[in-house]
Symmetry: C2
Subunit: 301 residues, 2 copies
Amino acid sequence: MTAPQPVDLAEAVIARMSDCADPRFREVMTSLVRHLHAFVREVDLRPEEWMAAIEFLTATGQACSERRQEFILLSDTLGVSMAVVGLDQARALRCDAGTARRATEATVQGPFYWEGAPDVPLGCDLRADGVAGEPACYSGEVTDTAGRPLPGALLDIWSGDGEGVYDMQVEGQGMTLRGRLRTDSDGRYRFWSIRPSEYPVPTDGPVGAMLKRMGRHPMRPGHIHLKVSADGHMPLTTHLFARGGRYLDSDAVFGVRDSLIVDFERHEPGIAPDGRHLAQPYYTVRYDFRLAPLRDPTGFR
Amino acid sequence: MTAPQPVDLAEAVIARMSDCADPRFREVMTSLVRHLHAFVREVDLRPEEWMAAIEFLTATGQACSERRQEFILLSDTLGVSMAVVGLDQARALRCDAGTARRATEATVQGPFYWEGAPDVPLGCDLRADGVAGEPACYSGEVTDTAGRPLPGALLDIWSGDGEGVYDMQVEGQGMTLRGRLRTDSDGRYRFWSIRPSEYPVPTDGPVGAMLKRMGRHPMRPGHIHLKVSADGHMPLTTHLFARGGRYLDSDAVFGVRDSLIVDFERHEPGIAPDGRHLAQPYYTVRYDFRLAPLRDPTGFR
């Protein structure tokens, strides 16, 4: 009748998986249980702290809805999402060691991706009437890692407005500043949207309270989101960040990569290169996306 | 422009807490972030596995309601709740090294505690009309660890019925088999309830799916729950388990302790020791609870 040793308890949980039919699931759960118990022991977790954790996780789940994903936000702000992106990229580099150039770097998807954005034509302006923010024209090409253009590659684009507010955060608002377009026969793309600015991640839920208690700011540097994909290539989820903006060195979700920081060239009002007339100052951005060849799903992945 | 090293990412998250005003919170979160990132690296977590984890945690939060706590069930089935109970008991033993006898062992609270059970008189029968199960009379005394009786100690009692179904699991059902009573002037208690039987933890939610995928059964051995408390003493949350029942060596929540397994003595129909007439066979159980002195909250706790 001795006090139970939590170290044995972790192994007792793991031993219960002897009939698990899925070796990968067993591997993941074994590591999870060991680290979870090691954490509890290491901090000598008190019952009232355990209950606070239960309440926090419950509130995080209950803050999720069709338009909000608080658990992704939790993962993002604890750097876990970016760790997973980094591991995936490391796998890609191992697989693609022979290719001439690296694929464009990935970063977090974040909690604001909304499946089913409208298909729009090349050169489209994603800005709706009255949307806050300065206009910016994004253009470039999509190639493979050997530099060959990828015609018909899909760009799925989303962002907040020029003040960093996403459509999903506004009750009742439909899709805004979102669109899916395809590259032309030379692999080129071009669209108008806003020049992104810094904004806070949602702070009115459990994750916001956690950040506050951690003594952290909730800000992200200005960025626009893109998923880029093409047949036979690894899909890419990434951002373009605006050079010179604030919080590039302290992104609340640890998503910044140097290779994704781009220049927004400012222009006076007038006729843009695509013939569009701008009554206000506007920006142009050029960025080329490179996609890695599709990896064998039975191989390194 | 190198691939980010997740090991650095964990330290980057921790470094962001330099302005945290709560040293204990910082300590707990530092350990949590290190173990979380170590787990992700150790299993080389794939993006699709990460998304499955997000969806699992979200579903777990959304399965919680006024009458259901799926995150406690998750903690219970991963052995985390019992690890926390074990650490608390280890702290108590360090504090109470001088006392003659140990306090009664604690075990998990589980997901079915319902605050505000009715106050009932000593000797009360908690069984409502028609509740499934064989009657059992529980009696004994509540003392401190020196063996001194504790008059007016509170017992907050709950259990499933004789088939292991809790009131909270039945849509629309009010409190059943729950009650709060106080020991008499000699520290003695006595009440009637059912003889508990084995039952499965709820398997219709995300945790049930996890157990199935782990290759584990969801069963708990038969038990009745009690919270025992008295002024000036550490409150106790525990079970009494029925000796001879199934699953005592494979409790789905790892809650069994030898010292909490008790004999249910069977009797033929007739007059029970308290004068009650029983038309069916019944059981008697005797168990004495010992409470530790209240610890200094600024000390070991």
